[in-house]
């Protein structure tokens, strides 16, 4: 009987101690949600020393506090958005509370622009993806407008405003008809935040590849007209044009590079040959060389 009394008494003392400790620390009075970079204070009651812990996604702190004084949580302790755990420890008693830090206002952009090089006059060929962050690099989940602008020197820019969804705004744009370095800019309205990328617009595939051939007596000289894409942009130097000559002896092929808009090559002399030109997926005209008739031919 005496033993049972001792056990019950011990349990009662433990319960009372826990109750007193909890009453001293009280429930942690922390708002469920605070904005990133906002400090706040936590009131405490009771007396004596305790330990306060704050554990968040981007940091952890531990400090001694005096019960009855306010616990000051500094703005730099709540910069990272996410879920935080606050613990007040008194003796063996832990009193914890979780709360969320939400991202602040849009203040920064990450911008992905693709591709870095694109053919002219191509639909939806350029894509831009903007990620909106606050001052503390938290992804801003609330909708925010993002301006996209694609411009080439001496032409009107293409502009578009897209609201973010879950922190992301994206767009697709056509490349312009002219070649050159296009400025692709994403910006946050009413701020000076903007990020610029350069998209090099180059001539697309050749259009209307046309060549002529001349029998010089030593060889057949073939030469294209200036090669341009369908928007009139000259194809870049170095573009390969393949000339093919077919006659009774078989097939001869020469790859020539475009230099100053024109590709030129010499083919073996033949008295009855058909010559064609091609670049990439584009076929040009055919020319026929015969005895004493020079070159004749037409479009293909």
């Amino acid at each position: 009987m005496r033993n049972i009394c001792y056990i019950l008494l011990t349990l009662a003392v433990c319960w009372f101690a826990a109750y007193v400790a909890h009453a001293q620390t009280g429930g942690l009075k922390i708002p469920d949600q605070v904005s990133a970079g906002e400090g706040f204070t936590i009131p405490t009651s009771g007396s004596g020393d305790a330990t306060f812990y704050l554990v968040g996604p981007g940091g952890a702190s531990k400090r001694s506090i005096h019960l009855g004084d306010e616990i000051k949580v500094a703005p730099e302790e709540t910069r990272t958005a996410g879920r935080y755990i606050a613990v007040l420890r008194l003796g063996r008693e832990n009193n914890s509370k979780t709360f969320f830090v939400t991202p602040g206002k849009p203040a920064a952009l990450n911008f992905l622009a693709r591709p870095s090089r694109v053919p002219a006059a191509k639909q939806d060929a350029i894509s831009g993806v903007a990620f909106v962050f606050d001052d503390y690099k938290n992804l801003v989940m609330a909708p925010a407008p993002v301006n996209f602008s694609l411009s080439l020197e001496q032409s009107a820019p293409t502009m578009r405003t897209v609201p973010t969804k879950d922190g992301i705004a994206w767009t697709q744009m056509n490349s312009s008809r002219s070649q050159g370095a296009a400025q692709f800019v994403a910006s946050l309205p009413a701020t000076d935040v903007s990020v610029r990328r350069v998209v090099q617009q180059v001539a697309a595939d050749a259009c209307d590849l046309h060549m002529r051939a001349q029998n010089t007596g030593k060889a057949i000289v073939v030469e294209t007209d200036p090669i341009r894409d369908c928007s009139g942009n000259a194809v870049p130097d170095g573009t390969i044009v393949t000339f093919t000559e077919i006659d009774n002896h078989g097939r001869s092929t020469v790859d020539a590079r475009v230099k100053r808009d024109i590709a030129r090559a010499e083919l073996p002399l033949s008295d009855n040959a058909t010559i064609s030109a091609a670049t990439g997926v584009v076929l040009g005209n055919e020319v026929h060389i015969g005895i004493g008739i020079g070159a004749t031919g037409g479009e293909r």
Binding site: V55, S127, D166, W170
Partner: protein
Amino acid sequence: MLDQFKNRIILPCARTLWILAASFAPFVLPVLADNNPPGVQLSTSHATPREVEDTTQKAIVRDYSAAWSALTDALINNDASALDSAFTGIAHDQFAARVRDQLKTGLHTQVIDRAHDLEAVFYSPEGSAMELHDTAQVEIQVVDGGTVIHSEETTLHYVVLMTVAEDRWKVRVLQSEK
């Protein structure tokens, strides 16, 4: 003689070994269970503007699972280098700062992620970035020295941004939200 040896030596030894093995089971089995990779279920039906390829789906599940494994290692062992293989950019910097602070204060965090319900919501047109929403079942223990100061089992919601890096997808943002 043989029967005597069997009855006196072999059987008592076998019994002892069996009892020993059985008594260790409660300790061993949870450890084995914890070593199992967490279940990661990925849904890509709402991903826009690009459809997520089969190979990418497999890579995302593999790499996201590896990222949580790296995060739990980093937080329990206070080893920021564990983050390098799976995190990049902002997420890497944030969790590395957390590990540094834990080292300073003597804290450790044990995270056991039981399951992840992942949903891809954005897959960039050129296929280099993906945003996902994760509903994660986790157990968290915050330990100061040898004392557990906080323990909970909870469901958390994360916004995840993964980008292609080197030969895998890495987590660039892992942000829990209400």
